[in-house]
């Protein structure tokens, strides 16, 4: 099938592959060990999926904020985002 109209690039393909793998991984994790609502440093009780969503949304804004505030390499933002996601999923 011709997918030229979608204008794929390697970085965006890797990005979506990571998201798909993350969702597949979360589904398997859920089947193996169903999530329990928990209360951490976030102001509400959250499931594992909620925390992943908050983590991903937060990391999108970390990247946007980094781009708006500094000219430094975006890998810095990715490092901060990884720490943020890990914190939210473990202690959120």
């Amino acid at each position: 099938m011709d997918m030229d109209w979608m204008a794929w690039t390697t970085p965006t393909a890797i990005f979506f592959l990571c998201i798909a793998l993350m969702l597949a991984g979360m589904t398997v994790w859920e089947v193996v060990s169903p999530t329990v609502e928990a209360k951490g440093f976030l102001p509400m009780r959250t499931t594992r999926g909620d925390r992943l969503f908050i983590g991903l949304l937060g990391s999108a804004f970390i990247h946007l904020g980094w781009l708006a505030a500094t000219d430094a390499s975006l890998w810095g933002a990715s490092a901060v985002a990884l720490v943020w996601i890990a914190l939210v999923i473990r202690f959120g």
């Binding site: 204008a7 794929w8 946007l64």
Partner: protein
């Protein structure tokens, strides 16, 4: 008896999954792909990395449009939600001709297409032929939404209130009708005031429909395009240019597809963030009371 585990019902969501994939996921993926490229035409694309995002985030006109958009959406919510609740409280209950007539009258503005609403208000507000404009003129008020930013803002806001408050009112009315009469009887026995009945019976019972009303009105007003475009064209100056109109200027007017795609993603993330915050706040409100 052993409990039988059968998860085959999950297969029933496949049609919905496919429809969402074709209508939302694939277009969104395409927009993400466009946002990192310079697009000259079909097959003529050049990878530019995060250049468009940097351009969009440092764009002063976009910052201004975002501030306008947030003020506009907050104003819409602050007016339409309380007004909708008030209208619903004042509506006749039960099955009568009066109820049916009220419901039909309230539903009328919702049936009018967006561009027609804009045109109605464009004519309605004109000083020479419009009823509103001519009335203001007769009263000695120099009302002109085409060259006065404040007048343009008020007109766009009033137009939105006219068009959409009915939706909030109808949703609240549905919420109110679902309250069993026993609640009111108990309140009467306790000698509860009208305010107490509203605060402790009606408002908590309307929570579910209010969540939907706030989310719908927020998302709709945050993405408003047609009505202000027809009424003011974004003017005078840029005073009523909201995010979607600025985005359209970029994508269709200047044919800046890459930049417009980056803008769309930022826009999408902002709507997602605000909707998530509203949803969380509203679903949490009253949780303590339930316990």
């Amino acid at each position: 008896m052993d409990k039988v585990q059968d998860n085959r019902a999950w297969f029933l969501i496949i049609p919905v999954f496919l429809i969402v994939a074709f209508s939302a996921v694939i277009p969104l993926m395409t927009v993400v792909n466009y946002s990192v490229q310079e697009i000259f035409g079909p097959g003529q694309t050049f990878f530019v990395g995060t250049e468009w995002f940097e351009a969009v985030l440092k764009d002063d006109r976009l910052h201004d449009a975002l501030v306008r958009q947030i003020i506009y959406s907050l104003a819409v919510l602050l007016i339409e939600i309380p007004l909708g609740i008030l209208i619903a409280l004042g509506m006749p209950g039960g099955r009568s001709a009066k109820t049916s007539l009220t419901l039909v009258l309230l539903a009328l503005p919702l049936l009018i297409p967006f561009n027609v609403v804009g045109t109605i208000w464009q004519i309605f507000g004109r000083g020479d032929i419009g009823l509103l404009g001519a009335t203001f003129r007769a009263l000695g008020i120099d009302y002109n939404y085409t060259n006065n930013s404040a007048h343009a803002w008020i007109t766009v806001l009033v137009m939105d209130v006219w068009h959409w408050t009915s939706l909030v009112a109808l949703l609240c009315y549905a919420g109110l009708q679902s309250i069993p009469p026993a609640f009111y009887q108990a309140a009467k026995i306790d000698g509860a005031s009208k305010w107490a009945v509203f605060r402790y019976i009606q408002l908590p019972k309307m929570r579910g429909v209010l969540i939907i009303a706030v989310l719908l009105r927020f998302m709709d007003s945050f993405m408003i395009y047609t009505e202000p475009f027809v009424l003011t064209g974004g003017g005078p100056g840029n005073s009523t240019t909201f995010l979607s109109q600025y985005l359209t200027q970029m994508a269709v007017g200047q044919f800046d597809i890459g930049k417009a795609a980056a803008f769309s993603i930022v826009y999408f993330l902002i709507v997602l963030l605000f909707s998530f915050i509203f949803y969380t706040i509203i679903t949490r409100t009253g949780e303590g009371e339930k316990k």
